[in-house]
């Protein structure tokens, strides 16, 4: 099994910085933003983005939280049981601009589940999606608004995402067959 | 049968090799080198010869519960297990507490022909424990009853037990007690212990058996009567019987094959095939009853063959019936637990499964011994073969055996009753053939045991 590195620590940080700027640009500032990461690594990335934004717009504290989607998955009967994580929504999502954050966008089903979970929590004004890696092969009509890197892959390949907070270092690899 | 059958090369219980000639339903000659005598040869080289087994405790269920077993099917099971005489317990419907019912069972046994059926009479009317049944009438009936038991239930009233013990002395009868103090075992399901606590099933305490045995022994001592203890199951019971015998009380005791092997752990799967009365106990009890059987404290093995239909076992434990079938497997279990373990010899097996039960049941004149002149009740066993015991090895109507799936040693090859084969070459002889022999049987019931 061969693995090749595609993004190192500095690449990842630059990508997140660019995404943070893009978010602020399309939102015309930080007001109304709520950043929700999809556990586990999506939450780490959401927190980094929130921190970067605070650095760009001083005096602004963008609410950041976690949105667990285990109960909304469509593959519960057929895949191994996952344990769920807590959902933390600081201050609610009514009428806000929710930025969903995940590490990898693949079939789109996780995002679909996240949208269902959001619906049960309230009614945001607008929902946007930020991902670190888009590897293609969508099974649903879902697209990301902010993408760190496009990495076309085959089904046989795997994307390994490592982040300091969860895995000890920042690295993204593609693992071949 | 006018032609002779001669068995060549059998191994006696004492390990001597012998030939046996059977003529006119009786053993006409026995000893080595009898091949010159006229007769049909049956080669039994290497097979163990025992006197036809006598089961002092069987439930044939007829009349009343023919969906579980009948006298015919029950005696077929007996024949397959090597039994030539069975004592049929009285908890039928109607209960065998009068002459008419015991004579009915007796007649059914004769018609079926597979084994000698000795009906057991109830001690109390309807097994209710309130009033004595027609004990003397049953004794002088054609069924010639000598063993009386309320088995299934306990004669719990000490006054009634005393009266019954005294009364049967008039005809050398014996009361066989199912020892179970009813108030201590209300709704009990299995042995009271660690397993019952874990499984949440009401316990059947050992002391409920021991109390009754101790009481009955004192009563029998007082009245000078014979007492027989059915299916004893605990180490304490063995001890009580042992000290009673030591001081000369005329008490005898039986143990079932399943109590020689199985423990309460079998219940862990809630498999009601292991639900029985008295219940399976612990390792300590199993060792004690084995030792008791080996040293003579426990006189005999009796099957307590208790057939039940599938729906009464394939259900929740607390709804299930108590009991296991055991005629077909008894000899193998005794072989496995007592002979192969070195606790007993085949001589001992002949004693505990034939001679002694015949004696207690009052049929010692016609059963339980291999002797020239005696009715030819014989069983030939291949003691070496190891077989996987399955449903196909059960010959009775019901299949509630706890031994299914076990590898059991020994198999009955031939069973002969009154000189005709009931089992030949491992297969049950056809009913119509047996019926013919039964009609021609000259030995019959007329010999008072």
């Amino acid at each position: 099994m061969t693995a090749r590195n595609v993004l190192q620590a500095t690449d990842i940080q630059r990508a997140l910085t660019r995404i943070s700027h893009e978010i602020l640009e399309s939102n015309r500032g930080a007001s109304g933003l709520v950043i929700l990461g999809i556990p586990t690594r999506g939450v780490v990335l959401a927190e980094r983005i929130a921190e970067i934004i605070s650095g760009i717009e001083p005096g602004v504290d963008v609410p950041v939280g976690a949105l667990d989607v285990t109960m909304y998955r469509d593959d519960l009967a057929t895949s191994p049981t996952r344990s769920s994580s807590p959902t933390r929504i600081p201050g609610g999502i009514e009428d806000s601009t929710v930025i969903l954050v995940d590490d990898v966008l693949y079939s789109g089903r996780t995002v679909r589940a996240a949208l269902d979970a959001l619906t049960d929590l309230g009614r945001p004004r607008v929902v946007r999606l930020a991902v670190l890696v888009d590897r293609g092969h969508r099974e649903l009509p879902i697209r990301a608004d902010y993408v760190g890197k496009n990495l076309p892959t085959s089904h046989a390949e795997r994307i390994n995402v490592c982040l300091v907070e969860t895995d000890g270092n920042d690295l993204i690899q593609i693992a071949g067959e | 049968m006018t032609t002779s059958v001669k068995f060549i090369g059998a191994v006696l219980p004492n390990d001597e090799v012998t030939d046996v000639v059977v003529t006119g339903g009786r053993i006409s000659a026995m000893g080595p080198g009898l091949n010159h005598i006229e007769g049909e040869v049956v080669d039994v080289t290497g097979l163990r010869l025992l006197p036809g087994l006598v089961d002092l405790h069987t439930h044939l269920r007829e009349p009343g519960f023919e969906s579980s077993e009948t006298v015919l099917t029950g005696t077929q099971a007996a024949a397959v297990g090597g039994f030539t005489t069975v004592f049929a317990m009285a908890n039928t419907l109607p209960v065998a507490d009068t002459t008419s019912v015991v004579e009915l069972v007796w007649r059914r046994g004769i018609e079926a022909g597979y084994a000698t059926v000795r009906p057991v009479g109830a001690v109390t009317v309807g097994l209710e424990g309130q009033a004595l049944a027609d004990l003397a009438s049953m004794a002088s009936s054609r069924a010639n009853v000598r063993v009386f038991s309320d088995d299934g239930k306990c004669v719990f009233d000490p006054l009634l037990m005393r009266r019954a013990l005294e009364y049967v002395k008039a005809f050398d009868g014996v009361i066989a007690q199912h020892a179970q103090e009813p108030r201590l075992t209300l709704r009990s399901q299995m042995n009271e212990g660690l397993v019952s606590a874990r499984l949440g099933l009401a316990g059947w305490p050992r002391v409920a058996e021991e109390i009754i045995i101790a009481r009955d022994i004192l009563l029998a001592e007082e009245t000078g009567s014979r007492l027989h203890v059915c299916h004893l199951s605990t180490a304490g019971s063995v001890e009580i019987v042992r000290s009673a015998k030591a001081r000369g009380v005329r008490v005898t005791a039986e143990v079932t094959p399943h109590h020689l092997l199985l423990t309460e752990e079998s219940a862990l799967d809630y498999d009601a095939r292991f639900k029985v009365n008295p219940p399976l106990r612990t390792d300590e009890d199993v060792h004690a009853v084995r030792a008791g059987l080996a040293d003579g404290t426990v006189d005999i093995v009796a099957t307590d063959h208790a057939p039940h239909p599938i729906e009464n076992k394939d259900c929740e434990w607390s709804d299930a019936a108590f009991g296991m079938v055991g005629l077909e497997s008894a000899l193998s279990i005794v072989n496995m637990t007592m002979v192969q373990s070195g606790l007993m010899s085949w001589n001992d097996v002949a004693r505990v499964m034939s001679t002694a039960p015949a004696h207690i049941g009052g049929v010692a004149n016609t059963a339980g011994t291999l002797e020239v002149g005696r009715p030819a009740d014989l069983v030939f066993v291949d003691e070496r073969v190891l077989r996987s015991f399955g449903v196909e090895d059960l010959a009775g109507l019901s299949k509630n055996s706890p031994f299914l799936g076990l590898e059991l040693p020994g198999k009955v090859v031939h069973t002969m009753r009154h000189g005709y084969f009931t089992v030949r070459d491992g297969s049950l002889v056809d009913q119509r053939v047996i019926a013919t022999f039964a009609r021609e049987d000259t030995i019959g019931f007329d010999e008072r045991g």
């Binding site: 009967a77 049960d120 | 949440g200 099933l201 394939d314």
Partner: protein, 315 residues
């Protein structure tokens, strides 16, 4: 986890995982929209051979909150007819095609048979069998204890060092048994307190201590006291002379309750006999967890149903 038949089968990791799942389920209670789509399209049968409105409603709430289809099969016979056999009921349900069975039965071992006899091939959840076990009750009791003691830091925690006294008719109580297994697995110290006639005959049958003196046990300041319901039928079996004596010696009277440290939790699986095993003062106090236990029961049952109905591997 394929079936939940007894608390004795649950190891520490699985128990904690279930309690943590229940925490997630509990969070949904605060939302305006309490339902989760998780078990949509799955049908669950509540196969109740014994009357039990409380437990059935609790399971039904749990099932509905996970969007499952609920079928209530009241299999209780009447005084006239015994009702269908367990085997026939099971095979009927199998023929109808259900996805899971929650069974409550008067005979110990019935859920075990349902799970292993091959009459039906779906997950089985024991909602109480005879005097054997009531595993979801133990789970909700453990969940309640954990929340009261560790508050918001409950996730991932066990009950190490927590001292619990279970008082009452232990001998006939499946709740006591399941709690003895589960609480001990989670590290708690459990003591049964009852008259000698209502304690199991074997002292070493359960991993708990057994005492007969309630006052002495209360003086040792347990963290929680769980009172079990006393059934009046027990008087007929001569387990104790009459209720008044029972209450005087083993009841949580007002006097005993007042002497307890404030932090001592008072638990009861319900329904309560006020004035018999538990005084109203205790039942209605801030220390009482009775109502929380009921609420937590729904979350715990949601967690259990999720665990048995999703995934192919062990939880």
């Amino acid at each position: 986890m394929q079936h939940l038949l007894s608390a004795a089968d649950l190891d520490r990791d699985t128990s904690i995982a279930l309690l943590d799942l229940a925490e997630d389920m509990a969070e949904t209670a605060d939302r305006p929209h309490k339902k989760l789509p998780t078990l949509r399209g799955r049908s669950i049968v509540n196969l109740f051979f014994e009357d039990s409105t409380r437990t059935r409603i609790s399971f039904e709430s749990a099932e509905k909150r996970l969007s499952a289809d609920v079928i209530n099969f009241s299999a209780k016979g009447s005084s006239v007819s015994k009702g269908e056999s367990l085997k026939d009921s099971a095979q009927t349900l199998a023929a109808m095609g259900v996805d899971a069975v929650v069974i409550r039965h008067g005979s110990s071992g019935a859920p075990y048979l349902l799970a292993h006899r091959g009459w039906i091939d779906v997950p089985v959840v024991n909602a109480g069998d005879g005097t054997h076990e009531h595993p979801t009750q133990a789970l909700l009791d453990a969940f309640t204890l954990r929340r009261r003691i560790h508050q918001t830091a409950s996730r991932g925690r066990d009950l190490a060092g927590v001292r619990v006294a279970i008082v009452g008719d232990v001998l006939h109580s499946r709740v006591a048994r399941s709690n003895a297994w589960l609480l001990t697995t989670l590290g708690a110290d459990v003591t049964f307190v009852a008259p000698p006639t209502l304690l199991p005959a074997q002292r070493d049958a359960f991993p708990v201590s057994m005492e007969t003196n309630l006052d002495e046990v209360l003086r040792s300041s347990p963290d929680a006291v769980m009172m079990l319901r006393i059934q009046k039928e027990r008087i007929h079996g001569a387990f104790f002379p009459h209720e008044r004596e029972y209450t005087r010696i083993w009841g949580l009277t007002a006097q005993r309750f007042q002497a307890l440290p404030q932090k001592t939790l008072v638990m009861h699986p319900g329904p309560m006999n006020r004035g018999l095993e538990i005084c109203s003062e205790a039942a209605d106090s801030a220390a009482s967890t009775v109502l929380e236990q009921v609420a937590n029961g729904v979350f715990v049952r949601m967690a259990v149903l999720f665990a048995v109905l999703t995934g192919k591997e062990d939880l």
